[in-house]
């Protein structure tokens, strides 16, 4: 397979093109954000085919309800990742998924192998380890629970047995550490 040329636009250009419903907007949208969104979705649902379906649903929803996005309120990615997270969390919490998961050990193993074979991790993954090291364990666990397990801060508080205020502060600290790291 020849490597496809990826299309990249500035966020403003992309938003404009999406509003005009241009074909190139769909392509750029996919090329720029599919990996980031897929990373989030996959970590929440932890199953390749389901994650692929949700990624597709996410793009359909972005495409169809794009008029609901306003740049003044936030970045495009924030809006999109919340769509992806909500779809993923809905799926994980649905009765079907939980029942399915009870007897899926073997399939999960297959998916794991599949994942190793077909999913290309970004080289920055090495950076993630460093990143994770820069966070304190309690910050990391909160970030992981919220971001990759789809917990609400209320659920995190219950899970860890700590007050809601503490959850919020730790989350804030964790994100501040991230900001330092990225700067």
């Amino acid at each position: 397979m020849s490597k496809k040329r990826k299309i990249s636009l500035s966020e403003e250009e992309l938003v404009q093109a999406l509003r005009n419903r241009e074909k190139i907007a769909a392509e750029a949208l996919y090329d720029m954000y599919s990996a980031s969104l897929y990373g989030v979705i996959f970590r929440i649902v932890n199953e390749t085919s389901l994650a692929e379906d949700i990624l597709q649903e996410t793009f359909v929803k972005i495409w169809q309800s794009f008029s609901g996005y306003s740049p003044e309120k936030g970045r495009l990615f924030t809006w999109m990742v919340n769509i992806a997270r909500n779809l993923s969390i809905d799926k994980v919490r649905s009765k079907d998924f939980r029942n399915q998961n009870k007897n899926q050990d073997i399939e999960n193993t297959v998916n794991l192998i599949d994942e190793q074979n077909s999913t290309v991790y970004k080289p920055e993954l090495l950076g993630v380890k460093d990143l994770v090291k820069t966070l304190r364990p309690e910050q990391r666990s909160i970030l992981e629970l919220v971001y990759f397990k789809g917990y609400t801060h209320v659920e995190v508080a219950e899970e860890l047995g700590i007050p809601l205020g503490t959850v919020k502060t730790r989350l804030r600290m964790a994100i501040q550490e991230l900001r330092k790291h990225f700067n």
Partner: protein, 275 residues
């Protein structure tokens, strides 16, 4: 109005970015961001961090997925009236895979075809069966006929053998008493001591069910029983081999009780021939 810095410190902006707040809180954050540039700037920073965090955890989805998803979007896209043509030059046209409509009808047609084939086969089989039956009947008739012919032929051969065999002597027996017109032929071979009567050329008055003709040979002046026969013989029988006799002086036929009697009833003498 809340103090911007304290508001930021509550950590609500992070929850806003993560989409983990109530509708009222959401409106509140948006109002705050509207009023306080610092809040807005903080929000953008948090968003950027989260975005970079996600980018670091990015996973490339399967390559096939790109076409699948883009086709899905662009199919809807084509239906969409608000579709606007691209103003930009697209370096590479998106690969559009023509989606063949699902072949749901295939099994329907296949089933119908199978059914039609089954019916056709049944009709053909039924016809074949009938013809086979007919052929079997005809074959039985033919084999019976051929059996009859072969019987006839073997009988004729037997007869021919008698004619060819020079040792046979043929005697024409003459009508006597009540039946002056009666006549029949008896063949006798001194070599084989065999006696054969000709049933085909027989000319005797018909006998009834209680009576039969009996052939006698006169040996040393005494009558010797050579067996019985009917005047109206089975049409298939042309001749009949009688009991053997050595040195007969005469052949005679009397009409007797069915099955024959030990001594001839001379009153019923039909034909006779002395040798």
């Amino acid at each position: 109005m809340k103090d911007a810095k304290a508001y930021i410190e509550t950590g609500i902006l992070e929850l806003y970015v993560l989409g983990d707040i109530s509708h009222d809180e959401k409106l509140e954050v948006e109002a705050m961001a509207e009023q306080h540039p610092t809040v807005k700037a903080e929000l953008r920073e948090i968003e950027r961090s989260i975005e970079l965090f996600a980018a670091e955890h990015a996973m490339e989805p399967n390559e096939d997925l790109r076409d699948r998803i883009l086709n899905g979007l662009l199919t809807n896209f084509a239906d969409d009236n608000t579709f606007a043509p691209s103003h930009r030059s697209v370096a590479e046209e998106a690969k559009v895979v023509t989606m063949t409509p699902p072949q749901n009808n295939f099994y329907k047609y296949a089933f119908a075809a199978c059914l039609a084939l089954l019916i056709a086969s049944t009709v053909v089989l039924y016809n074949l069966y009938n013809r086979l039956e007919e052929t079997n009947t005809r074959m039985l008739a033919l084999s019976a006929q051929s059996q009859q012919y072969s019987n006839t032929v073997s009988m004729k051969e037997e007869q021919l053998k008698v004619f060819r065999d020079t040792s046979y002597r043929v005697f024409n027996l003459q009508g006597q008493g009540k039946t002056p017109d009666a006549a029949m032929s008896v063949a006798w071979s001194p070599n084989h001591k065999k006696v054969i009567i000709d049933l085909d050329g027989l000319n005797l008055p018909a006998n009834d069910a209680e009576h039969q003709y009996q052939l006698w040979a006169i040996v040393d002046g005494k009558p010797v029983d050579l067996g019985v026969f009917d005047a109206e013989a089975d049409p298939k029988e042309f001749m009949k081999v009688m009991k053997s006799v050595d040195k007969p002086q005469a052949f005679a036929v009397t009409l007797e009780k069915r099955g024959g009697v030990p001594q001839p009833t001379m009153a019923n003498l039909t034909v006779i021939r002395a040798i």
